[in-house]
């Protein structure tokens, strides 16, 4: 039976993690994600779990590294400057093939930046969340229900592929309150973790969690194998489309920007412009094929994002620049208005006609 609860986005993430069987949360406060930690601090002790406030984001991600090494579902959450500090640990986790869930409720940057919503960590999340050759799964919710659902899914994917999975939200999604059906969280599967460090009990050979390979050939082979796995992960790439069937101008937007874009698309349709929305739900793997297919029919693309233009590169790459791609963006914590998006749609349609 559907059980709807009114929740903040950040709380939905925390509740979903608990329902997915996560009993180990390590964090450090930073706006605008602190409710995740506060929720965990309240719930975890009652569930027989751990909420531990680390001395830094660096320590928190390394505690996740330790807990994940022990085979349990572990999680940390932060916002932009804190994610930068976690990048060392993320790279080590990738090098050791450890699963975990990481939340980034983005704020404006660079530096201390601001605390208002932003999407300016897209490159960091999808291109380089640390040194070395590796990827993370990056999921982008656009409402509170999805913050819940995708968090549960993130734990499943992380275990399935032995990778870190990131929920990439923004300050606005973190703070917004919406009804959530939390009955969907129960179906947590359990992958066997025979690699985990639980003590040999004299029953098996020792397990080692490690990312050091001094032989270049061996390391290359491992990286190649990991990229074979990534090729398999490509199949989880997905989008959520709105009015794309006949669309001539396609908006590509994720997170809160996608919700704003929908309003603008409705307005554009009233004015006779065939506009539609492709919303990538997975940012890595990026839904390249879905965009390539759309480019066969569409005349132009408009990318709406709260950064100086980061996801636009993935859109251009996916369609191999076969159509004009326009950018409609705000930065520093500013949120694009539906009017500005409508104007961008009109301009793109106009440019196509002339």
């Amino acid at each position: 039976m559907a059980e709807k609860v009114l929740m903040k986005g950040n709380e939905a993430i925390a509740e979903a993690a608990i329902m997915a069987g996560c009993r180990h949360f390590f964090g450090y406060p930073i706006t605008p994600q602190t409710e995740v930690a506060a929720y965990m601090a309240k719930r975890m002790p009652k569930m027989g779990g751990t909420y531990l406030q680390a001395e830094s984001e660096i320590a928190a991600i390394n505690m996740v590294y330790g807990a994940s090494s022990a085979g349990v579902r572990a999680m940390t959450s932060s916002s932009s400057p804190g994610i930068s500090l976690k990048s060392e640990g993320l790279s080590y986790m990738a090098g050791s093939d450890l699963p975990a869930v990481l939340v980034n409720i983005q704020r404006g940057g660079p530096g201390l930046g601001g605390i208002r919503p932003s999407q300016s960590d897209y490159f960091q999340a999808t291109r380089s969340s640390g040194h070395g050759d590796f990827h993370m799964i990056v999921l982008a919710p656009n409402n509170v229900q999805e913050m819940f659902d995708l968090t549960v899914e993130a734990f499943e994917l992380a275990d399935q592929y032995r990778m870190t999975a990131m929920i990439l939200g923004d300050g606005m999604l973190g703070q917004v309150m919406e009804p959530v059906d939390i009955s969907r969280g129960e179906a947590a599967s359990n992958v066997t973790k025979d690699w985990a460090l639980t003590g040999t009990k004299g029953q098996r050979k020792r397990n080692v969690i490690n990312s050091l390979y001094l032989e270049a050939e061996e390391l290359e082979m491992l990286n190649l194998k990991r990229f074979e796995k990534y090729a398999d992960v490509e199949k989880i790439a997905r989008t959520d489309n709105y009015l794309t069937e006949d669309a001539e101008v396609i908006i590509v937007a994720y997170g809160i920007c996608a919700r704003i874009a929908r309003n603008a698309i409705n307005e554009a349709r009233k004015k006779g412009i065939k506009a539609g929305l492709i919303r990538p739900v997975t940012l890595w793997p990026f839904p390249k094929n879905q965009l390539k297919t759309a480019a066969e029919k569409a005349k132009a693309f408009v990318v709406v994002e709260m950064s100086m233009g980061q996801m636009i590169q993935d859109v251009e790459l996916s369609i191999r620049c076969s159509r004009p791609v326009h950018l409609c963006s705000r930065t520093g914590g500013m949120v694009p208005t539906p009017e500005a998006v409508l104007e961008a749609i009109e301009n793109a349609a106009q440019a196509e006609r002339s």
Binding site: T50, A59, N62, G66, A70, G202, N210
Partner: protein
């Protein structure tokens, strides 16, 4: 014939990569003997550092994790919190623990994290080729203190046991040395006590072991032991700095 001496079971049957005369080998052996004597190997998870002991995961016959530079106490925290029934130890050098990992060490102690740290203080960065460590003593010549460490310029060495003994969460902190048979025996006693305290759930335990780096000190192995005795011990006095049971 009666066997009177053999490799501890907790130590793998492989040759180590440590330089001839390096006391890392002795310290490994002591930890392994203690694991054997307390019958802990099957329930122990060790954490290897970044530094000469990075390959410790090849040498201890228990489950092992390799941590980023300095982060071993945080990794150990995660391991212990996930599975409190496991015995968790880290094995760290002075660059690892007292420079890049200072925060992780102090806060693991402050939380009274029920883990054991084996802290190998050789007053230098071994693996990267002999640079100044936070524990390099005044006047000591290293690659990056070529005129001898001048505290006015490079600051003072960190005294780890003294510092950690002021923290309430520290259950046991002792500094030992492996320069002589007597001291080696004493070092083993300290390591055993630290693990026993962890088994009893008493909290954070650390054994600081003064160790040699003959290679980077530029001394013959025996000279290195003498240098340790004559220079490191006076600066870093041996003894128990914190024992929750006693004071």
């Amino acid at each position: 014939m009666e066997i009177v001496f053999q490799r501890p079971k907790a130590l793998s049957d492989v040759s180590s990569h440590y330089c001839p005369g390096c006391t890392h080998g002795i310290i490994h052996r002591l930890v392994a003997e203690v694991l054997d004597e307390l019958d802990l190997t099957g329930k122990t998870v060790g954490v290897a550092p970044v530094g000469c002991a990075v390959l410790a995961y090849n040498y201890f016959e228990c489950d092992m994790a390799q941590a980023a530079h300095g982060r071993a106490p945080a990794v150990a925290t995660g391991l212990k919190r996930a599975n409190p029934a496991n015995i968790v130890f880290t094995y760290q050098g002075d660059g690892d623990l007292a420079a890049i990992g200072t925060a992780e060490t102090i806060h693991a102690a402050a939380r009274g994290e029920n883990i054991t740290i084996i802290f190998v203080n050789n007053a230098i960065y071994g693996m990267t080729g002999g640079q100044m460590a936070p524990t390099t003593i005044p006047g000591q010549i290293t690659q990056t203190s070529p005129y001898g460490r001048d505290p006015k310029y490079a600051g003072f060495p960190l005294k780890v046991c003294e510092t950690l003994s002021t923290i309430d969460g520290t259950a046991y902190a002792e500094r030992v040395s492996v320069d002589s048979v007597k001291n080696v025996i004493n070092a083993k006693k300290a390591i055993k006590k630290a693990f026993e305290y962890q088994i009893a759930g008493k909290g954070f335990t650390i054994v600081e072991v003064l160790s040699t780096c003959s290679t980077n000190w530029g001394l013959e192995p025996v000279e290195a032991l003498t240098w340790l005795r004559e220079n490191l011990i006076p600066y870093y006095p041996l003894g128990v700095y914190k024992d929750k049971e006693v004071f």
